[in-house]
């Protein structure tokens, strides 16, 4: 297949640059379904952004990899065509495909750290793209690399050329990837969840960059994501995928104003909206019991020290500085911040999995901060935690029954009592008693998170710390777990300390929100204040970076 450079005479006004027709990709035997994607057809319009949205396992990444010809050997295309400029890419030879990659179709990936070569400087990697397609001379390549790094918004491009990837932040690495993808001015850019691993503010910047470049160069972008916020921010056209099938395909306007397929409606409904006001109809505690302070934190400090010895200077990171707040019975306090803000450290300090340097934590009047482990142990049952990663937080070698009952039994509960309590709590979180003898790997992420919640509830705690408890879950599962947490709070009046980086989630479940930035709490207030009338500059920046704040439905 000949790839001819586009000359003036050849620029036709085509509506569609890439056409996928009836694509079917098979999975190896033994997986939950036979096809990764089945009978998928769509058109990628020229000069527009097409967003492919779906939850995990929907087949969106497989589609993107098929277009690039990057499928692993175990997964094969069994039917369909991918038509580019009149030729079927699936029938093209390896050489022809290699010529296309980078030059006509480019891809950027989700995890920029693993997508960049750790042993090559950033400049070398950009140059490598051009060198492998024999573009220009070594001198011109270096100059073009500097140009590209500047174009993607990296500071001091000349210096940046000689940096190694590990020195850059996540957002900067992603910009480098975009520079590499743009080096040969491709017609099509495929972006496979490029902002999922980034902070909200960085995500906003990268989305702006992609949109800016797309407009300037008239590129077509195929953007894969699971976040409807992102879709509403940049999409022109939208494809919704579920379990390998396209369930809806329309312009962005249509999908948001009048979604047709029930799955699309469900996905949109599951996205937490930003609260307008704070009244909560279902909190029905008598006034006297409300505002009962369970845990009061004053001036908590934690600094990490590393290095330091005879030859190197000690490096300190002030993870938490002077944190003060209260947790009330039956109420949810949220902590939002980006990575490195100290929110996870704060959670660990509250639950005393980490010792604080100074400050007070008053649990029902007793200062628990200076207590030693042996003194604190009897109090541990009252402050419990739900962890972020549903896969790593359960011991893969223990049965569910063991996971739930080992704690209470170690604290002195009788085995039979623990067992019956575990069974009733399992029911409370929505799992049946048959799970008792099974192992964690037999369950999905959402189910494991329920088990984690059940484990925390076994002690009837007063304080529940949820450390990014829903961040690793799909949007629809996330909504279920959040509902479960709210139900539990209603039933047991537990005080919930909810740590998250997702502002929408915080807005939905929290009665009050703390915003953390570089270890300090910069603002505290009810969700309506934080999102609609933020007082602090950083909070304003954070809120404005939330993707798709305008289009997605507001919660009332």
């Amino acid at each position: 297949m000949q790839v001819t450079p586009r000359s003036e005479s050849e620029i036709q006004v085509e509506e569609t640059i890439l056409s996928v027709r009836n694509l079917t990709v098979d999975l190896p035997r033994g997986m939950e379904r036979k096809h990764a994607v089945k009978d998928v057809s769509f058109d990628l319009p020229r000069g527009k952004i097409l967003c492919v949205i779906g939850e995990s396992g929907s087949g969106k990444s497989v589609t993107a990899n098929t277009v690039m010809g990057l499928l692993p050997p175990a997964i094969t295309v069994s039917a369909g065509q991918i038509i580019f400029r009149g030729e079927d890419l699936l029938k093209a030879s390896k050489q022809d495909l290699r010529k296309l990659r980078g030059r006509v179709v480019s891809m950027i990936f989700q995890d920029p750290l693993s997508a960049l070569n750790p042993l090559m400087t950033v400049g070398d990697q950009v140059i490598e793209v051009m060198a492998s397609h024999d573009e220009g001379t070594p001198a011109s390549r270096a100059a073009r690399a500097v140009e590209l790094l500047d174009e993607v918004g990296l500071p001091e491009p000349q210096e940046m050329m000689h940096q190694y990837p590990f020195r850059l932040s996540g957002g900067q690495r992603q910009r480098v990837m975009i520079a590499m993808a743009l080096a040969l001015e491709p017609d099509i850019l495929i972006a496979d969840e490029p902002t999922t691993a980034l902070d909200v503010t960085t995500q906003a910047q990268i989305l702006d960059l992609i949109r800016d470049i797309q407009v300037r160069k008239g590129m077509s972008v195929m953007f894969i994501t699971h976040d409807f916020g992102v879709v509403s921010e940049i999409a022109d056209e939208v494809i919704v995928m579920e379990k390998g099938l396209i369930v809806e395909q329309a312009s962005a306007e249509q999908v948001f104003s009048a979604p047709k397929h029930p799955y699309t409606k469900r996905l949109i409904a599951a996205v937490p909206g930003l609260k307008e006001d704070d009244s909560d109809a279902h909190k029905s505690l008598p006034a006297a019991e409300l505002d009962d302070i369970v845990l009061s934190v004053e001036g908590l400090n934690k600094t990490y020290r590393s290095g330091g010895g005879w030859f190197s200077k000690e490096r300190t990171v002030a993870a938490v500085q002077n944190a003060s707040f209260v947790l009330r019975r039956g109420k949810t306090l949220g902590v939002v911040g980006e990575s490195g803000s100290g929110k996870t450290s704060l959670g660990r300090l509250v639950i005393k999995l980490m010792e604080s340097d100074s400050g007070k934590m008053l649990y029902r009047g007793t200062d628990i901060a200076p207590l030693k482990e042996s003194e604190f142990r009897p109090l541990r049952p009252k402050i419990q935690m739900i962890f972020q990663d549903p896969f790593a937080s359960l011991n893969p070698r223990s049965t569910i029954g063991h996971i739930l009952t080992v704690g209470p039994i170690a604290q002195g509960m009788k085995r039979e009592v623990a067992r019956s309590k575990a069974l009733s709590i399992l029911e409370q979180v929505g799992l049946d008693g048959g799970t008792f003898g099974r192992y964690p790997h037999e369950f999905s992420g959402g189910q494991r998170q329920r088990i984690g919640i059940a484990r925390a509830l076994m002690f009837d705690p007063d304080v529940l710390v949820a450390d990014e408890a829903v961040s690793a879950l799909d949007v629809s599962i996330q909504a279920q777990i959040l509902e479960l947490l709210q139900d539990i709070q209603e039933q047991t009046h537990v005080a919930l300390f909810f740590i998250t980086h997702d502002l929408r989630v915080a807005s939905q479940v929290c009665d009050e929100i703390l915003v953390m930035h570089k270890g300090r709490i910069v603002e505290a207030g009810p969700p309506s204040q934080i999102f609609h009338a933020p007082q602090n500059a950083y909070t304003r920046q954070l809120v404005s970076a939330i993707p798709g704040a305008e289009r997605t439905p507001q919660a009332t």
Binding site: E32, I351, L353, R377, P378, R380, P381, Q384, M385, F387, Q388, D389, F391, A392, S393, L394, N395, P396, R397, S398, V406, G407, A410, Q411, G430, L431, D432, G434, T435, R438, Y439, H441, E442, F443, S444, G446, Q447, R450, G452, R455, F459
Partner: protein, 292 residues
């Protein structure tokens, strides 16, 4: 609302994916077969053979294998080699196996404690491991053997004392990485004691690497026993062991080579079968990660 489960299959360990992968590893299955053959021969063989290992058949001294009555020939004293081989096999295999059990126990405890606590405890214990590793093990064995009464029990103990370091290192490395996982933090949150976390939460996750190291340790233990018995410091006659059969065969290598070849083959079979099994287990367990 009850959530449905993903898989309904029974999940016993013999049905697991690791086991199926092991079964497909041809060398490993060959190792299992050879080992079963050897073990059952050593257990039941002496009862089925015509001659007892102590019976002295003077007229048939030095007879070659496959000639006459004695299947594998006779030794200089007229004893049936086949019977001696199998009796010796019992001793050698038992010494090897129990040395493995003991060294695995010592190595695991030290490795888990060193890996879990980190800091000074870790440094101290690992330097201790390094110190032991710095000694050439054969010489250490011989030195110890010279001091003690060489009964099979003592031999087992000193082989174990010189073989535990490998396992300690492997376990320490695994524990260091597992220690950071959330389920360990969850254990501390639940108020579990350190001992409980080390041995009831972490240890079951280490079974894979430990079993691989253990099978390879058996192979090494059998060889070590053969070495020291061959040199005269191990199992003493009249108790037969493959090693001391080799010792007795030294001076007759030119005239009656089967005296050395037969026990040599037995040792080779035992050691290679354990090595193959260890390799197969390592390959089978290597690719087994938590399904995401």
């Amino acid at each position: 609302m009850t959530a449905a489960l993903i898989q309904q299959n029974s999940h016993h360990w013999w049905n697991s994916r690791g086991m199926k992968r092991f079964a497909r590893h041809r060398l490993a299955m060959m190792g299992v077969f050879m080992l079963l053959l050897l073990t059952s021969a050593c257990i039941f063989g002496p009862y089925l053979l015509r001659y007892d290992s102590l019976y002295i058949d003077l007229p048939a001294r030095f007879s070659a294998p496959f000639t006459g009555d004695h299947y594998l020939g006779t030794d200089p004293l007229g004893r049936d080699i086949a019977a001696r081989l199998l009796m010796a096999g019992r001793i050698s295999l038992l010494v090897g196996f129990f040395a493995m059990v003991l060294s695995t126990a010592i190595g695991t405890v030290i490795g888990v404690v060193a890996g879990y606590y980190g800091g000074t405890v870790n440094s101290l214990l690992m330097r201790f491991v390094d110190a032991f590793l710095a000694f050439p093990s054969i010489f250490l064995l011989l030195a110890l053997a010279a001091f003690i009464n060489p009964s099979p029990v003592m031999i087992t103990i000193i082989i174990a004392v010189t073989s535990w370091m490998e396992i300690a290192r492997i376990v320490e490395a695994e524990v260091k990485s597992l220690r950071e996982r959330d389920f360990v933090l969850a254990g501390r949150m639940l108020g579990l004691s350190n001992v409980h976390i080390m041995f009831r939460e972490l240890l079951p996750n280490l079974i894979g690497p430990i079993i691989v190291a253990a099978t390879l340790t058996v192979a090494r233990a059998i060889l070590l026993e053969a070495y020291i018995s061959f040199l005269g410091y191990g199992i003493q006659p009249p108790l037969p062991s493959w090693g001391n059969m080799l010792n007795g065969a030294q001076q007759y290598l030119a005239t009656a080579p089967w005296l050395a070849i037969v026990p040599g083959i037995a040792i080779t079979m035992a050691v290679t079968s354990f090595n193959f099994i260890g390799d197969g287990l390592r390959d089978a367990l290597d690719a087994r990660t938590d399904p995401a």
